[in-house]
Subunit: 324 residues, 2 copies
């Protein structure tokens, strides 16, 4: 089934302790699309300027991403972001942001995109996200990402937008900030009470946690002690252990792309097993993303490499390791 | 097989958003002992003052902990610690520390303790830890915990002490601080290069990561891609999701107690499967510890409750969930 992503397409200039790149292809919608493309048909919606050309389209087309809804704004410039990372890779130090055509972005979806089976709203102003959501009346599921900026400056709009989606991807600090609830289990439950049935708390180097509504009266609830009747089902996965992280830019978007790309291809996207595999594919794609700059590693990734690392995740998380 | 722990025995006054307690039984060696007592015979070594009496001994004896080597210093006062936690439970705000008899602690181990099968050196000045380690010539394994204070002020001594033990328990920030290496995989490998064969990076609300030396030329290495030839085997476990954490004091010591208590009872403590189960039992004990103040929950815990939560860990970490 098809998956549409709406969000930023960008040029990123990034310096890390392992090197630097000038104006490489980036942006949330790009990282998401490439990661999702291993599992399903992906359409990307976002604006570009005159500086965006064949070289960039080739990366997207190389992974079969459909770019019909990439909007070329004549006379404009593509979103540009410049940053560096210190040895602590958890924090990007932004040096320059030039919104360019992204600053005036009013997504106009083609009929093909409006009728796509599944939708992801990458991190954009929440009014814009909600406008897109309302255009996509046939969507089976819709997910969104957001950020601390919108929690601070457009909180009410973001809450309305969240009420209209099925899956929410946020950093765990943002989950707490949005709900003003320091306990992550309670915070995730509060977000689910707003409407979504799935909350994914991204935890950077610690991996990610999946919260879903508990079956409640079913078998699982009966097995639980009174000390854990939170109404929430939980699954967590560590990040893949890498001894070199070259460039963390786009890790969260690659995670969401692997997650929702896999899920878009499943008959029952709300199935617990499917969601756990989605968490794992998301973590696999994020781990490859950070091993090289920008889109370099994912652009030449193979499905065999993905499946091999999926199995490595099984090994590093299993309480019963495979015999040596 | 028997397990000896050497460390602090304390009175803790703690206030959290869920209430407060005055002068409750605490200290690293106490939390460790109680957690380990579910799996093996435990002897606790540490100093107490005149203010330590039957009420405190009863908690330890209630779990079968052997207190013959608790040293009563006549005229002295037991280590006292006072702190509070805000809603962010990751940080303890210390209000008062009175070392009392712990400040002059020179562990004198009985013949029974010196000949114990396994040893844990809770967080104490590293010269003192090393002195104990050298007294215990028949130990099968020795583990230690430490803290940022000793990395700062007694680094050389700590490095010497680490070289003489088999398992190191540190917060992940301390693992990085000790090695001055921001990448956790590399940092853990550096610690193993000093001597220990196991490094456990405690990650608070994110759980814990286990690093062991990789078999290297064996089957596992062959399965790995060139992108992960770090010479390190890895396993990670999230913390148990709790919607209420009442008092995090002693979580790390309970974790180490559950971990090493279980391991002390195994024939082959270096077996990968045994170490993963040890991680899980450690996480189980830590999770119960934080659900009430001080030792209250663990003191009345049952083995059935432990095993039930162990199975819950299997559910929340399995890539293939149990059928609903």
């Amino acid at each position: 089934m098809s998956l549409v992503v709406v969000g930023s397409i960008a040029f990123d200039s990034v310096k890390t302790p392992f090197g630097e790149r000038e104006r490489m292809l980036g942006g949330a919608a790009v990282h998401f699309s490439l990661a999702a493309s291993f599992f399903t048909d992906v359409r990307v919606v976002g604006p570009v300027g005159d500086d965006f050309g064949d070289e960039q389209y080739e990366v997207l087309h190389g992974r079969g991403v459909i770019t019909d809804d990439v909007e070329h704004v004549a006379g404009g410039k593509t979103f540009f972001w410049k940053a560096h990372y210190e040895y602590d890779m958890n924090l990007a130090h932004t040096e320059d942001t030039q919104l360019g055509v992204f600053g005036e972005f009013e997504p106009k979806l083609s009929e093909e995109s409006r009728s796509a089976d599944n939708l992801f709203l990458a991190n954009i102003q929440p009014d814009v996200q909600r406008g897109v959501r309302e255009q996509c009346t046939e969507t089976r599921f819709a997910g969104l990402d957001s950020m601390n900026l919108w929690i601070d400056t457009a909180r009410d709009s973001l809450l309305k937008t969240i009420a209209g989606v099925d899956l929410v991807f946020l950093n765990d600090a943002e989950v707490r900030m949005l709900t003003e609830q320091p306990n992550l289990v309670r915070a995730a439950r509060e977000i689910m009470d707003m409407g979504p049935s799935v909350v994914v708390a991204k935890q950077g180097e610690y991996g990610a946690a999946l919260f879903t509504r508990d079956a409640g009266e079913g078998a699982q609830a009966d097995r639980r002690s009174a000390e854990h009747r939170s109404g929430v089902s939980f699954f967590a996965l560590p990040a893949f252990p890498l001894d070199t992280v070259v460039d963390p830019t786009g890790a969260g978007d690659s995670f969401a792309g692997g997650f929702l790309g896999y899920l878009a291809a499943q008959d029952d996207w709300q199935d617990d097993a499917a969601l756990r595999r989605a968490m794992t594919y998301g973590s696999v794609l994020a781990s490859f993303n950070v091993q090289e700059f920008g889109t370099e590693r994912v652009a030449r990734l193979t499905r065999d490499e993905i499946d091999e690392r999926f199995e490595r995740f099984r090994e590093i998380t299993s309480l019963e390791p495979a015999p040596a």
